[in-house]
Symmetry: C2
Subunit: 360 residues, 2 copies
């Protein structure tokens, strides 16, 4: 078992990574706040891992709330139903919310934990690659709004993240690949050797080689933990984790969260961000080509879906959280392994990128 720490003073917590962790009875017991708990999960994950999770909780008997599976259920309405259940089942302020599933489950359960009776304990048990390397670490919680992704949320750090890599064995191929997009992101923004390792080892990752997977997850979580510890509430450095995401969120909004998985949208967004970085003279075309080549080698898309126009993209991007006072900010690459926020993005360069990539 690997144990990393997200160093946030009195809000510090461990990220536990390893094969078979969920099969260790009582492994989560030290992280519960009291003798009540509620597991939030979904109909796909529950049949696979709920029994193991119950054993991992030790003596505490947990209530369970099952969501439907999918990003389109990450709504204020789902949130409200979980709160109803907590109150109906008389959960007090010393209950613990446990997210068992992917990013949707983690984000929504985390937002419930952040706001139920003004905040209760939270434990993340991510079962997708994307959640293990990204969304479960760092305390961002949220639900979507019809006008934009993650528009309602809070920062609320978990008390523990437990990533059992065995759970990835049951992950559908498409979801697995989508998770690799976030893994690749860490290389692009922060770690050239890690990027180069993926460049040469994409095949091993695609066949879920255990050693490759362990290295990918550990490195990703270590990078994320370091960035979050340096800037918990995204007033500076942390924004680089959004590389590709402003484009991605716009695409997801315009496709109503239905056509693409988040990681797929991020893959396309990274391709657009790389192109935009070239147009801003921040990287050369060769670097952009390397990024595109790895995205493709990981079996991920690089093209904006048909039917989305450049001006619709621009509008959707202006609503994004990264926009300040109507001006668009973007995270761009300064090379492989380095990224930074560019304020007041040049409309011309952005439109050139969008026009080249979009239908109309």
């Amino acid at each position: 078992m690997i144990e990393l720490e997200v160093a946030l003073g009195e809000r510090s917590y461990p990220v536990l990574i390893g094969a078979g962790l969920l099969r260790q009875a009582g492994v989560l017991a030290p992280y519960l706040a009291g003798n009540q708990a509620m597991v939030v999960t979904n109909r796909t994950v529950a049949p696979l891992y709920l029994d193991s999770l119950r054993a991992a909780l030790g003596q505490v008997r947990a209530d369970v709330f099952e969501l439907d599976d999918g990003e389109r259920f990450k709504t204020l309405e789902s949130y409200s139903r979980i709160v109803d259940a907590l109150l109906e089942q008389r959960h007090s302020r010393s209950t613990t919310l446990i997210a068992l599933g992917g990013g949707v489950v983690g984000d929504i359960a985390g937002f419930v934990a952040a706001t139920y009776q003004r905040g209760v304990r939270f434990v993340q048990v991510p079962t997708t690659l994307l959640a293990q390397v990204d969304s479960s670490v760092g305390g961002k919680t949220a639900v979507n709004h019809p006008l934009g992704k993650n528009m309602i949320g809070a920062f609320h750090q978990p008390g523990c993240v437990l990533a059992d890599t065995d759970t990835l064995a049951t992950l559908p191929e498409r979801e697995y690949r989508a998770g690799l997009a976030e893994v690749l992101k860490y290389g692009v923004i922060r770690d050239e050797p890690f990027f180069a390792w993926m460049e040469s080892g994409a095949a091993g990752l695609l066949r879920r080689d255990p050693d490759a997977l362990a290295h990918a997850i550990e490195t990703s979580c270590a990078i994320k933990a370091g960035v979050v510890a340096a800037d918990e509430r995204e007033s500076g450095l942390r924004a680089i984790l959004n590389f590709g995401h402003t484009f991605a969120h716009a695409i997801e909004t315009l496709t109503d969260y239905k056509r693409l998985l988040h990681g797929e949208a991020v893959a396309i967004g990274m391709a657009l961000a790389a192109d935009c970085s070239v147009r801003h003279g921040m990287i050369g075309e060769r670097d952009a080509s390397r990024v595109l080549a790895v995205i493709r080698a990981l079996g991920l898309p690089v093209e904006v879906p048909a039917g989305i126009g450049a001006s619709a993209m621009l509008d959707a991007m202006a609503v994004d959280k990264k926009a300040v006072d109507g001006r668009i900010r973007l995270v761009l690459a300064r090379g492989i392994g380095e990224a930074s926020v560019v304020e007041n993005i040049e409309r011309g360069a952005l439109l050139a990128t969008l026009s080249a990539a979009c239908d109309g």
Copy 2:
């Protein structure tokens, strides 16, 4: 103008108290985060003070969201409509939410500020006595749920509280008296001389004598600021501010938030808490009588409304946030000017208090 500080490290902020503060053009400008703002207010307060508030904001033009007036609109649905408006009007993460009104407006606008795009700047402009002495200071934000008051919320400190005591001139008599309940509370839990001052000066407070009012508001805010600075997230001392409130919340839930103002429910709750303190041997009957006498002298109720039974009260109290793992905790008086949390409250003593006070 009196300026108090709520000392919370980098989240410290001023509480500005005085007559005519809202008429000072630009007085709030230093507390805005950027060049966007949204005022949340209600249909009663807007016609009276919105123009002054606009001038107080200086150059920044604010959007306005008007709620219907009343505790029964402090819901997740109202919250959701404010978020809709912010997104439709393209407010970014650097907007500022400004609450202009009483506790309902402040609580709901504060919860929006806590969660819109994971948190934006917040300014409180309380226009009721209750909000000026209590709810606007300390960072508690919330909306109600059909199963309990303030069940959904967050801690989110404002960047500034501006209490213009002139706004109290337009306050209806019943609301004004309800605010005095919270003023009295500070004396009971923390400041015997302040209690004694109210005991002898209730008449001056009732006729809104400006000097008496200034003293009452300043002392109340100073006590609250001190308690909040010592225990921001209510892990200890801060709980004493809930004196009378567990009873009050149960009464409000059982009357569907419709029959009583919050301060009126708190007045009844303090009478019950005083009785319960006697039954626990923590204070003598003389102290309890003094508390009841001042509540009555301030024109506030001490009787549980007809039709509410003891067992219904007990059930409603067990859902309260102050309940831990189904056990009821209460704040009880240890004397005039001192209070503490009693865990694991004795059911017998609680039932005796409730049976004596309730219909059935």
